[in-house]
Every structure is written in structure tokens, then in C-alpha cells.
Symmetry: C2
Subunit: 218 residues, 2 copies
């Protein structure tokens, strides 16, 4: 790891801006496909239901600015957004828990277009170890440490059963993983320098079903 | 549809509580599997990193209360949580967009244990229409209205490409869908009485990759 240097101060991009970037990119790619050459911030704002001022602020983080009257050059903005999001680089990840959700994520090739490549999966179930899912090999979890070190993997995806999730996270952190994408319905506790992003699919489903129940009970 | 009645006032459960319920259930099911008979709120709080007072408040919404000294009866709480979350009922859903993500969700059988059953998928791509994915048939989107009416479907899942998502949502609403689970990276605009839940996988991925980039640039 590089020693921490204070020479370059990176201005962190606000998280809501980061979260909107894939939405912008999707829309801009669609425009590019339809051969549109320019797009203005007010139009982007109208289509994506965002304040135009916000659009201009967000776009500034990509380094691209609009031109008077015509707005942004679509191809330029697409390239800048892809670069900002890292879609033109490959980020390799390990996935732990090759059950239904893990398999679905591995098979979901959409990630590959977003710069994420799941290169190996891990499980402790003997029936899963040794198989491969859509070309991704499933190893025993005990191989994680060695392989993560050799391949310099920094992203770990947790799709393990909930009761195992914290332990998996602890081991991942000890083994050099720096960012954890957690799909298990468990709040993880990790050291401050570790990045954790939760995607709690079941929590979202619970909210939908609960609201539907409330409607039905009225 | 039933006329709105004011006779029964349903106290809505706070959304953070609803979101925690699957986490509780997962943990409690694990305890049940390990033959644990009782569990106290402080223990639940410690394991799940929650305030015990919050645990007691959350559990009260299931109708189950703890007993002095021993706490909650595990099997009783599991049943109450399953009932609260609707896991013992079947909620049928239609999915629009049988691409990579849509296929992954259809194949993800974990939903079936959570009371959600995707009964049909829809697409406009001729190569997809007519096939079935893990036993779920893929129809042309034009059949959605008729089938949703006949089968009384109230949940629509959107995994369509981003540029089509709003139009799909508009049609779903017009065709009687009451809850939309949106996986497209687009903020949807729908009438107030429609339930919308976003799961923006790409936004989560963007946050992870951006934070990793910041670390690497320091």
C-alpha cells in the first residue's frame, strides 16, 4: 500500500451526485444512440426530474462544461461519465456465498459493462465448491485469503447467509479487502477505513409488501 | 377496488422498523435452527448492533412481547415476523424487462421464501418473447394489461432499460399496478397513491467505486 501523502487533496464528490451519475450516463447513452449531438442542462433536468442547477453542478465533477446555447456535447459527456464512474476500467471482485442471490449476481453480466468483474466465488458448501457459475469458479472459502492477495482483489461482495455475514466481513477485512458490497440483511461493523455499501433487497421488498398491506387494510 | 373507509385506522409501522424486520427474522430463524428457545432484546440488540429499546419497540409491532427474564419465545417470534412480513402469503408480481438483471431476479428463488412470486415476465424483444426463464414465461409487453387484470396482479417490477422505465411505469399505473419495484437507474414519477421502491444497484456500485478511487488517489 502507498504511504498516505497530503500533497494531493482530492475533493470528494458528494454521494448524491455519485448516485445520480449512472442515471445521467444511461440517459446520455440513449441520446448518443439516437444520434443527438447536444443536450442542455434544463432538458436533462426535465427528463430526469432534477433541478437544472443541480445538473450543472453534477456535470462539473466530470470536468465537462456546457457550451453557450447548445449545451453539452453528448459524446464528450458520455466519455466523461464513463471515465468518472470507472466503467472503462475493470474492478475485480470476489463474491462470498454462491447461493441463489450470489449466482444471480454472477450471471448478471450487466456489471461487466459497469467496470465490475466478479472473478471468483467462494462458499463452504461442498456441493458448490468446484463448480463454476457462468464461467466463474467457486472455491472453498479458505482459499479466499491466498487468492485475494495474489490477485490484488480489493472488492468483496457478501451474499452469504445472514448469520455468517459479519464473520465473512471480519475475515475479508483481515485479508486486505478494502470495499465490501453487502447483500446480506445484516448491518456490518467494520473499521472506519473500510468502505461498506449495503444493498438490502429484502428490506426493500418488506417496505413494498408492508405498504400494500396497509392499503388493503384501509 | 374497495371504497376507502375510515372505520379502521391502521397505524403505519415506521419504515426503518419495516426495513429491520427481515434482519430480525433471519437472525431468529438461525436461532430456531440451533434449537434456542428464548432470546432477550439486549442479546438481539448486541448481535444486530441495535439499541435494545429499539428492538423492544420494533417487536411490539409484530404483536409479540417478551416474558420477564427469559425474553421472547423464538418460535413465536419467527412466526410473528413471518406473518408481519407476509412471507407466509404469496404476492404475485409481473416483471418488465427480461434482460440480464430481470433474468437474474427471476432465477433468484430467494424471493419465493419471502412471499414474492414473479409469475410472468414481459419484454418487447422478439428474441425473448416466447421463451421461459426458470419456468417463468416471457410475454410481449402488450399482453401485460390483459394478464394483470385477469390475474389481479398488483406488483410490477421494472428491470427495463433506463430510457423505457418511465413509460413502463406510466402504463403499469394505467393498467392497475399499485406497487412498483424499480431497478432501473431512473427516478420514476407516479401518482401519490402508487407505491414505488427503488433498488438502484448501479448507484450503489458507483458509490463503492468512487470511494475506492478516492482512496487510491490520496
Amino acid at each position: 500500500m502507498n504511504p498516505i501523502s497530503t500533497e494531493k487533496i482530492v475533493q470528494p464528490v458528494p454521494e448524491p451526485t455519485v448516485r445520480r451519475m449512472p442515471t445521467y450516463l444511461n440517459y446520455l447513452r440513449d441520446l448518443a444512440k439516437r444520434q443527438e449531438q447536444f443536450i442542455t442542462a434544463p432538458t436533462i433536468g426535465r427528463v430526469l426530474h432534477l433541478d437544472p442547477t443541480q445538473v450543472v453542478k453534477d456535470m462539473a465533477f466530470t470536468g465537462v462544461s456546457g457550451r453557450p446555447r447548445v449545451g453539452y456535447l453528448v459524446t464528450e459527456l458520455v466519455a466523461a461519465l464513463e471515465d468518472f464512474l470507472g466503467y472503462n476500467r475493470t474492478h475485480e471482485a470476489f463474491l462470498v456465498g454462491a447461493g441463489f442471490l450470489g449466482s444471480a449476481l454472477i450471471q448478471y453480466q450487466g456489471f461487466r459493462e459497469s467496470g465490475l468483474r466478479i472473478v471468483a466465488a467462494f462458499d463452504i458448501d461442498k456441493k458448490k465448491v468446484g463448480i463454476d457459475i457462468a464461467g466463474v469458479p467457486v472455491f472453498h472459502f479458505e482459499k479466499f485469503r491466498d487468492l485475494a492477495n495474489r490477485l490484488h482483489i480489493s472488492i468483496g461482495i457478501i451474499t452469504a447467509p445472514a448469520p455468517a455475514a459479519q464473520q465473512v466481513a471480519d475475515l475479508m477485512v483481515g485479508w486486505g479487502i478494502r470495499a465490501i458490497w453487502n447483500f446480506a440483511p445484516v448491518p456490518l461493523v467494520v473499521p472506519d477505513h473500510i468502505i461498506v455499501q449495503d444493498t438490502h433487497i429484502y428490506a426493500n421488498l418488506a417496505v413494498i409488501l408492508n405498504k400494500l398491506k396497509n392499503i388493503n387494510e384501509i
